[in-house]
């Protein structure tokens, strides 16, 4: 569609309130379904796997937040409150689909099989970290699980996801039919204000890239509430402006998220089109361990949202169908707690990456100046071993 052909003859302004975008809701807080709602097809196995992902993530977040307070980690950042949004979306995608996230999507990583130990290698920047200990905690990435390494600058992954998906489309073109794989791109309500958001969304629409954009609208960007982030009808209304198929879901409603994601992926791969999902949720915890939300929002507001906890809601639904029991719940929680703590302890014994890794991977191979620099540095550290943690190693 280029532009509409309808005409009027009196000046009449249109505003966002004329296209309120509704929210898809399937599951009530008590675990029952809304009237007229249709349950997505979801096997018991998959439902339990999703649920387990959610509780594992919650426990990981709790434990790592304490570990950070104890000084065992330098930094941490939780997904609490948004587990259904993340686990419910990733579950609708193929393991071969690329995920390009923001940083609060540990549930997606877990769903794909990232082990507790793997989390620890990254969080502690040991020599076992797939990212070689180079980035701050929570900047996970694994090629094996098709999870692109997180990068701190916000929204940069949005045009990148469009480009990645375009590449997937070209590969599909050769096979004929739809794309075999697409890209799932997460971002926050704050990141959606960046210029890269606009560039990436528009390019994906114009260049027909099979990518599903998943906006986690959790009400805040650090201390900034969405009311100071945008004046329109959320992020979804922008998708419509880009000519993109768009849906808004209750992000605390696992079934709504999953149903929308299944449908979105289908559109993306079958018709080479980007889709936007906006999931309305809430960041239950602090922005990160460096943040204290009491400076900018009320306990009452937080409590209101705690009552809509996505994990509790899904648990009630599982219980209602007898797909999960209190016993299983207790056992799972216990085992995850134990696993997380013991893996943390074990990985804490692992050494840091070697000094030489400082100059690796800047280029495919270190050019002369980096070879010179690392030689000089190693020599310096050797001579002054007492002043450097790495002094022992060299």
């Amino acid at each position: 569609m280029k532009h509409s052909k309808r005409s009027v003859h009196r000046p009449q302004f249109i505003s966002g309130s004329e296209l309120p975008i509704p929210t898809l809701e399937i599951l009530r807080a008590d675990g029952s379904l809304y009237e007229g709602a249709e349950e997505p097809e979801l096997s018991r196995d998959l439902a339990v796997r999703i649920y387990r992902t959610m509780i594992f993530t919650r426990i990981l977040d709790e434990r790592m937040t304490s570990a950070q307070r104890q000084g065992r980690l330098s930094f941490y950042l939780t997904c609490a409150g948004e587990e259904a949004a993340v686990a419910g979306s990733v579950a609708a995608f193929d393991p071969g689909d690329m995920i390009m996230g923001q940083y609060r999507e540990q549930a997606a990583l877990r769903f794909r099989g990232f082990s507790a130990r793997q989390f620890m290698t990254q969080l502690l920047s040991t020599r076992n970290d797939l990212g070689k200990g180079r980035q701050m905690p929570v900047h996970y990435g694994t090629r094996e699980l098709n999870f692109m390494t997180i990068s701190s600058p916000l929204a940069t992954q949005i045009p990148q996801a469009a480009g990645y998906a375009y590449g997937q489309r070209l590969d599909a073109g050769k096979a004929g039919g739809g794309a075999s794989h697409c890209t799932l791109c997460y971002y926050g309500d704050g990141a959606a204000s960046e210029g890269d958001f606009h560039a990436g969304m528009n390019m994906a629409a114009v260049l027909k890239c099979p990518v599903v954009f998943f906006c986690r609208n959790n009400g805040y960007a650090i201390s900034t509430p969405t009311a100071e982030q945008y004046a329109g009808d959320g992020i979804a209304s922008r998708g419509v402006g880009y000519g993109m198929q768009t849906i808004r879901v209750d992000g605390n409603d696992l079934l709504a998220v999953y149903a929308a994601s299944v449908a979105a992926r289908r559109i993306a791969v079958e018709s080479f089109e980007p889709v936007l999902i906006e999931a309305m949720s809430y960041r239950l915890g602090a922005h990160s361990t460096s943040d204290d939300p009491s400076g900018y929002r009320s306990r009452e507001e937080e409590d209101r949202w705690r009552e809509m906890d996505p994990i509790a809601r899904m648990r009630l639904w599982l219980y209602a169908r007898d797909w999960w029991s209190e016993g299983e719940e207790k056992a799972a929680l216990e085992s995850y707690r134990g696993e997380v703590l013991s893996e943390l302890k074990a990985e804490e014994k692992e050494p840091k990456p070697p000094l030489a890794a400082l100059v690796e991977d800047v280029y495919d191979t270190p050019p002369w100046h980096l070879r010179e620099q690392i030689e000089a540095l190693s020599e310096h550290v050797r001579r002054h071993a007492e002043h450097y943690p790495a002094g022992k190693g060299v």
């Binding site: 200990g133 701050m136 916000l154 890269d196 960007a221 900034t224 400076g295 900018y296 943690p389």
Partner: protein, 326 residues
Amino acid sequence: MAEMNLLQAVNTALDAAMAADERVICLGEDVGGFGGVFRATSHLQEKYGRERCFNTPLTEQGIAGFAIGLAAQGKVPVAEIQFADYIFPAFDQIVNEAAKFRYRTGNQFDVAGLTIRAPYGGGIAGGLYHSQSPEAYFCHTPGLKVVVPSGPRQAKGLLTAAIRDPNPVLFFEPKRLYRAAVGEVPDEEYTLPLGEAELVREGEDITLLGWGAQMEYLLKAADLAAAEEGIACEVIDLRTLLPWDRDRVAASVRKTGRLLIAHEAPRTGGYAGEISASIQETCFLHLEAPIARVTGLDTPFPLANEKEYMTDQWKILDAIKASLNY
């Protein structure tokens, strides 16, 4: 006089500037009610209202562009970029717009009032994206002034000068020192002149030059050099990087015959290169050893082995000795 840290000095300077001139406006991500993630703008919204101290949407290019428009209209915006690592989306607005505004309009319009503040530098376990020192990118940009304070007293005096200066100023704050650097700061408003370096310590044997968080290391190295080898270092805090105080540096090098420049940013294309090139042009016949550079490696800023990666007094001391023994 009051003892305060660098962060408080910044906050004090902003507070006084807002009190003195109602055109002064603070804006940026989380700078409003929350007072910024480092709390540099604490209490300013309470005191001066939501119209003069406010959160912006999360867009650095927007913050810079918006602040440029405000400045062109006659206001005195002080925009915060949350981390210097996130200034790059604003690069076009700063380099193509703010820096060239007065020139391209033939002095009909300008962005005289514009100041952009950003915490920079490593040493806080920040990895690639919470550690960068991007000053050299901006020092290659005619039309900008670039200022870096090394402690609380400098922070207050230089920031006040930056806000009043009739040119766009980038003000990079060494975040490692936000709470670590504590010192006496005059209560009244005062300015330290932009474009003038500060002679921090006199000496005869070698000139040590740096800015911001390097000054601490340079002074420690000077102490060590004096104690271990009886070397008398002259130490200069450049303070303003663009335009820089070449005469002050050249005068010192003519006296000592040796120059060492330290910065945290990667070596290649870093600002030490410019200073070295200029000083060898001006002081060629006075140089008794090559001008030395102690800098970050030519890699992204790492997390693991950060201590090894960064410049420090030991590396500077080694370079001092190498220069003296040349």
